[in-house]
């Protein structure tokens, strides 16, 4: 191959890779993880006001405040780890779509101790919650992790 031809081939390869990456991301899954600190009393963040009645019914607390919010585009079958306050990690592996629902594996790790390992099928654009209850033994209190998945 001549030296003059090399840049053309490298350029073409980069363009092809970009197209493939763009196509992959178009069909990827957007995962949003929001960690919410809950308490018996105190204010509630404005962005959670609409969700407060639902939280109240499910968790039973009165104060809800966002402590961390992360949104990430995840590739199918790829492993993504989201940091959760209190030294925890939420591992998400999107596996595919089935009947307009996102099938994924979710694992919650508390430092090195696995707290939960589950396979869920969540309605596309739906939200599900994971609660971490410390039974009053930890100073940071209970936590709700909101998981939203959108294809």
């Amino acid at each position: 191959m001549s030296r003059a031809g090399r840049p053309v081939i490298v350029g073409a390869a980069i363009a092809a890779l970009s197209v493939v990456t763009a196509a992959t991301l178009c069909h990827a899954l957007e995962v949003q993880i929001t960690s919410v600190r809950v308490a018996e009393r105190g204010p509630t963040d404005a962005q959670l006001i609409a969700l407060r009645p639902r939280f109240r019914r499910l968790v039973g607390y009165r104060s809800f405040q966002v402590v961390r919010d992360e949104r990430r585009v995840c590739a199918w079958q790829a492993h993504e780890a989201f940091k959760i306050p209190g030294g925890r990690l939420l591992h998400v592996v999107p596996k595919g779509m089935r009947e307009q629902a996102v099938v994924m594996q979710v694992r919650l790790i508390d430092r090195r101790r696995p707290l939960l390992d589950t396979d869920v099928r969540l309605q596309n654009r739906g939200v599900m919650l994971f609660g971490v209850d410390t039974d009053g033994h930890a100073p940071d209190g209970p936590l709700i992790i909101m998981l939203k998945a959108e294809e």
């Binding site: 639902r54 019914r57 499910l58 968790v59 307009q100 629902a101 099938v103 919650l108 508390d110 101790r113 696995p114 707290l115 939960l116 390992d117 589950t118 396979d119 869920v120 099928r121 969540l122 309605q123 654009r125 739906g126 939200v127 599900m128 919650l129 994971f130 609660g131 971490v132 209850d133 410390t134 039974d135 033994h137 930890a138 709700i144």
Partner: protein, 161 residues
């Protein structure tokens, strides 16, 4: 007339397609020439055999079903013409009334009921597998949106589920 002339005119002679003078000439030559006479007799016998065979095949044809079929066709066409004549003779208001009745029946008839399929709720989640490694957990579900909460205890106690 020579034997060669007869051989050329033999087919036309047997089919009687020659002018009268030539027919007589060939007949006279065949009467005095045994080989041409034999050729004429053989060809005549062949023609007779073919004609007989064709006649037998025609006789064997069954045309008995043709006329009833034609008759049925005529009857159908006549019936159709009778209906057309009746419709043309019918008053316009009668035709309009019939059309209006059909339209009313079509519009007012209840639509067939489709089977109802329950649409999934906005946040519906199906837990296909769950493992808490011995830690206590609780599954809660909210009715309105179908929001699911998996509450897990992180206090270090491994409580049997």
């Amino acid at each position: 007339m020579t034997c060669g002339d007869v051989a050329q005119m033999l087919d036309d002679f047997v089919d009687a397609e020659l002018p009268t003078s030539q027919l007589l000439a060939v007949a006279r030559h065949a009467g005095s020439c045994p080989s041409c006479d034999l050729a004429v007799r053989e060809l005549s016998a062949l023609h007779d055999a073919i004609e007989r065979s064709a006649r037998e095949e025609v006789d064997a044809l069954d045309l008995g079903g043709v006329w009833p079929a034609v008759s049925d066709g005529i009857t159908r066409v006549e019936a159709r013409r009778r209906w057309t004549r009746r419709l043309r003779a019918a008053p316009a208001w009668g035709v309009g009334l019939a059309a209006a009745a059909s339209a009313a029946f079509w519009l007012l008839a209840p639509a067939p009921e489709l089977p109802r399929i329950a649409s999934p709720r906005k946040n519906q989640a199906v837990i296909e597998r769950i493992d808490s490694g011995g830690a206590r957990f609780e599954l809660r579900r909210e009715r309105k949106y179908g929001t699911t909460l998996i509450m897990v205890s992180a206090d270090g106690d491994a409580v049997a589920r």
